[in-house]
Amino acid sequence: MIKAVMMMNTQGKPRLAKFYDFLPVEKQQELIRSVFSVLSSRPENVSNFLEIDSLFGPDSRLVYKHYATLYFVLVFDGSENELAMLDLIQVLVETLDKCFSNVCELDIVFNYSKMHTVLDEIVFGGQVLETRSDEIMKAVEEISKLEAASNSISLVPKSVSGWRGGR
């Protein structure tokens, strides 16, 4: 079972966080921060695994991969194979690459819902369901089409771009 999926940048800002066991939001933020503090102190060229019993309970393991400015983190338990989880991060990143062509952190920041769509096709209720990038892409495209279709009914534009926070 996969317990959590996290994406955070090298400053510790979470870009995506999905916990497959319910946790209150403060706890979630705390976990994200703890994971970040452990990851940021890891040197380069070391193994990608961590034992994190103290954070996620007994029998929890963590695998992470550092791509450019992002850490991709998967938390899982004993019923998953470590190297297979490493592969899964690879699958996720490849799919994102196909989705956004040369994906970078900004793509992930601005496409929050699409990220979730992709992830939901791979990990379902804590279990790995799909590992082939093309199948995932197919499903994601279909869903996006449906979304666009259901959105196009409205005539009035809903978003005002360039809105600034300070008034």
């Binding site: 979470p14 870009r15 995506l16 939001v25 102190s41 601005f110 379902f124 449906l146 978003s159 926070g165």
Partner: protein
């Protein structure tokens, strides 16, 4: 008209990045907006607001539980876009206590029955994340239908949800299990992968329930070529083999096949793990697995090294040979720059019976282990050690490991612990005595530093000794001739401290006739005996070559001379004329001051008195003292000769003194002393056919120190031991600053020794220490005669 200007999620994100107000005020403003917008009746507005709220909750930790009802409203929309947002909010924020949870039951049912497979998938995902008992019960018919759906996309997801449904509503098993099992025979690899994934979880929880399906799993094991599927099936067999050992035999063959054929490292690792954890009785399989581990250990990839070590530590308890085969790699791993690899290697070593390991492997490896264990345990003033009695006896054990060359470090730690941990002193004295009494130790050059520490400890903490008489015997035994003079001097001084202690307790016992305050009671005979033994043992040293030894020997003899008279007179402390009593009391006072660790900054704290000039460069001295500080020249008569001449003069004088002294006992030849010692402590000596009067026997005459390992192991049957475990950790004296930790390894340490490294290291060691202790108990039981 508000809708015109509603910010979407994208706007919110953009705004966040451009904002100048500060994060928290931006968030609170956004929240205000959301609260307003979400109350709107228009579903589009509502859903956008909900979408923004979900984002803030996930990324910024904002609480969204208050919007639960709105999420239910949004999800009822017919538009896919809204449904998605609604379900996302629900899966993220709903839990068992959410009051409106039951309201979504009907909606879920509708969506699960939808023709649009993506709507179905939304519903299924929601159910799999937040499904409760009631939801599972109400919706299991729908799940049952979906398990047989024609669309594989749907079937895949329905399989995924089955786990949660079974978990929350066990009766569903009756309904859905058959369909699940049918799916085991599917040709679609993704569905198969999902099904075996579910069974893997089910097998973890209750292996016996999945046992009847073993033939199906076996078929998959043989036929499948999909690595994900194979990995899951292997995990299932690992669990099943633990309840049904006969399975192991059948499965070993195919697993070996996979190990040999596959190129996927993940599959190889899983095979290895399955073999060493569940099939450890099948020799051929284990051999192959260990070979694969060996391959992993020499790879450059740190992940493979780490996993190899992990697998080795699972295999180690039953298959020690596996570790020996790979010992070079393990030793290299101890100094690897990756903290995980280092930790795993250390964990591996500490969990094993290191004594047995060292007996079979080479000295370099032994010493590597010893040095690592010592450095880790002593880090930060022994912060990870809780049971110091055990650790002290471990130090004694290490001394007895053949080829131990880490004398200095063990010496340092024995003394350090004595100074810092008051509660450990009795055990320290006990361990020290065992080390001192053993004549074989005296012959081993590498152990001399440890012996010097042992003797110092015995002298300093003599009040904890059970039998000071035996201690003294150990300290004056004839074979101490083999020790270098500076250590001999420490021995003599310790004898002195013991003597002072015994005399002190004897005199105070005389005073209070109702029994002495100390634990050791001395009668007239016993104290006289003690004094005689010391005198006999120390007397030959008063003519020693080394002046330090000579000096101390004379101090002791002089003290004895004075004390003997007063003992003979049976005086007590009350008698003011008794010189010995006063002197004894005075010396006791001197020795009673506790010595503690000294801060490295202590010198700086001493104020320089006025008028004292501290010159850094003493080159000026050369002018003044040049003629006195001439270097030793080698062309003139060698100094050594000069010294020896003068000492030998002293010796002659001493002998003349000695012969006229009042001691009645003539000096015994050292050979007969040895014979006496041999008589009393026969168990330590090899049986000799001829009574060899030659006292300078080679070290090989004596039995190896290992035989005496039982002496210092804790008695496992001691009922008090359990109680001691529950005791809280003894106090360790730590200095606030200037507390130096010795750097004992010359290997380059990683610069980034993060706190987490230590913490996880500590935890690993703590858990391994608990296991090790149990191992020691077993070992002790095994070799106690």
């Amino acid at each position: 008209m508000d809708n015109m200007f509603q910010r979407s999620l994208e706007d919110l994100i953009k705004g966040f990045r451009l904002q100048l107000l500060g994060e928290s005020s931006f968030i609170s403003r956004a929240l205000e907006e959301i609260r307003r917008e979400i109350k709107a009746t228009d579903l589009s507005t509502k859903s956008t607001a909900l979408h923004k709220l979900s984002y803030l909750a996930a990324i910024h930790g904002v609480d969204m539980s208050w919007a639960a009802f709105h999420a239910v409203e949004v999800v009822s929309s017919s538009r896919f876009h809204h449904k998605r947002i609604g379900y996302q909010a629900i899966t993220q924020s709903f839990h068992d206590q959410t009051s409106v949870l039951l309201l979504i039951t009907n909606q879920l049912r509708k969506d699960l029955n939808s023709v649009n497979e993506y709507e179905v998938s939304l519903g299924l995902e929601c159910l799999s994340r937040i499904g409760t008992h009631d939801l599972a019960r109400d919706l299991s018919p729908e799940v049952f239908t979906l398990l047989g759906s024609s669309k594989s996309f749907v079937r895949k997801k329905a399989t995924g949800v089955v786990l949660r449904v079974f978990d929350k509503y066990p009766d569903a098993v009756k309904v859905c299990f058959k369909r699940l099992v049918e799916n085991l025979e599917t040709s679609d690899p993704q569905i198969l992968s999902a099904v075996v994934g579910v069974f893997c979880e089910l097998a973890s929880k209750d292996p016996s329930s999945c046992l009847p399906l073993a033939p199906e799993f076996f078929k998959i094991l043989i036929e499948s070529r999909n690595n994900w599927v194979l990995i899951k099936v292997l995990k299932i067999f690992a669990k099943l083999a633990s309840v049904e050992p006969r399975l192991g035999k059948k499965v070993a063959e195919p697993i070996c096949e996979h190990m040999k054929r596959t190129v996927a490292k993940s599959l190889v690792f899983e095979c290895v793990r399955t073999v060493v954890s569940s099939l450890s009785d099948h020799e051929a399989a284990v051999k192959l697995a260990v070979a694969k581990i060996g391959e992993f250990l020499v790879e450059d990839d740190p992940n493979l090294k780490y996993l190899g070590l992990h697998a080795l530590s699972i295999a180690a308890p039953k298959h020690l040979w596996a570790v020996l085969e790979n010992k070079e790699a393990v030793v290299k791993a101890l100094s690897d720059e990756d903290p995980n690899v280092k930790l795993e290697a250390l964990h591996l070593l500490m969990a094993m019976d290191s004594y047995e390991l060292c007996a079979k492997s080479d000295p370099l490896f032994c010493n590597e282990i010893i040095i690592s264990v010592l450095s880790v345990c002593s880090r930060n003033a022994y912060e990870i050690i809780v049971d110091f009695n055990w650790y002290v006896s471990l130090l004694g054990e290490m001394t007895r490991i053949p080829n131990c060359q880490r004398g200095e470090e063990i010496e340092h730690q024995l003394i350090d612990i004595g100074m810092r941990v008051g509660d450990a002193r009795p055990q320290l004295v006990r361990v020290s005595w065992a080390l001192l009494i053993d004549p074989a130790m005296l012959g081993n050059l590498f152990l001399h530093p440890i012996l010097s520490a042992a003797s110092w400890v015995s002298g300093e903490y003599v009040e904890f000794a059970k039998n000071p008489y035996e201690l003294v015997e150990a300290l004056v035994q004839p074979r101490t001739d083999l020790l270098p003079p500076y250590i001999r001097a420490i021995y003599i001084h310790s004898v002195f401290k013991v003597l002072v202690f015994c005399l002190g307790s004897y005199f105070s016992a005389q005073e209070s006739s109702s029994g002495s305050s100390s634990t050791v009671a001395f009668t007239y005979e016993s104290i006289l005996n003690l004094v005689n033994v010391i005198e006999i043992g120390v007397w030959p040293l008063s003519g020693a070559y080394d002046v330090e030894v000579q000096e101390r020997a004379k101090n002791v003899l002089g003290f004895i001379g004075m004390a003997k008279q007063d003992i003979a007179k049976k005086v007590n402390l009350q008698d003011n004329e008794a010189e010995a009593c006063r002197v004894t009391a005075f010396m006791e006072d001197v020795f009673s001051e506790e010595l503690g660790p000294i801060s490295a900054n202590a010198q700086e704290k001493v104020f320089v008195p006025d008028g004292l000039e501290l010159e850094e460069n003493l080159g000026d001295l050369e002018e003044i003292c040049g003629k006195f500080l001439k270097p030793v020249e080698s062309d003139s008569v060698p100094c050594a000769d000069k010294i020896s001449f003068s000492v030998s003069n002293l010796r002659i004088r001493d002998q003349q003194e000695a012969s006229s002294s009042s001691t009645s006992l003539p000096p015994k030849a050292s050979s007969s002393l040895l014979a006496e010692h041999r008589k009393r402590h026969g168990m330590y000596y090899l049986t000799s056919e001829k009574n060899d009067p030659d006292s300078n026997g080679t070290p090989n005459d004596y039995p190896p120190a290992n035989d005496l390992a039982s002496e210092i192991l804790l008695d496992p049957l001691d009922p008090k031991r359990k109680a001691k475990h529950r005791k809280s950790r003894p106090v360790v004296v730590k200095l606030d600053e200037g507390d130096e930790s010795r750097i004992i390894t010359s290997q380059a340490k990683t610069k980034q020794e993060s706190v987490t490294d230590d913490e996880s290291l500590s935890r690993a060691i703590q858990s391994a220490l608990l296991v090790n202790k149990k191992g020691k108990e077993r070992e002790a039981k095994g070799i106690q005669i």
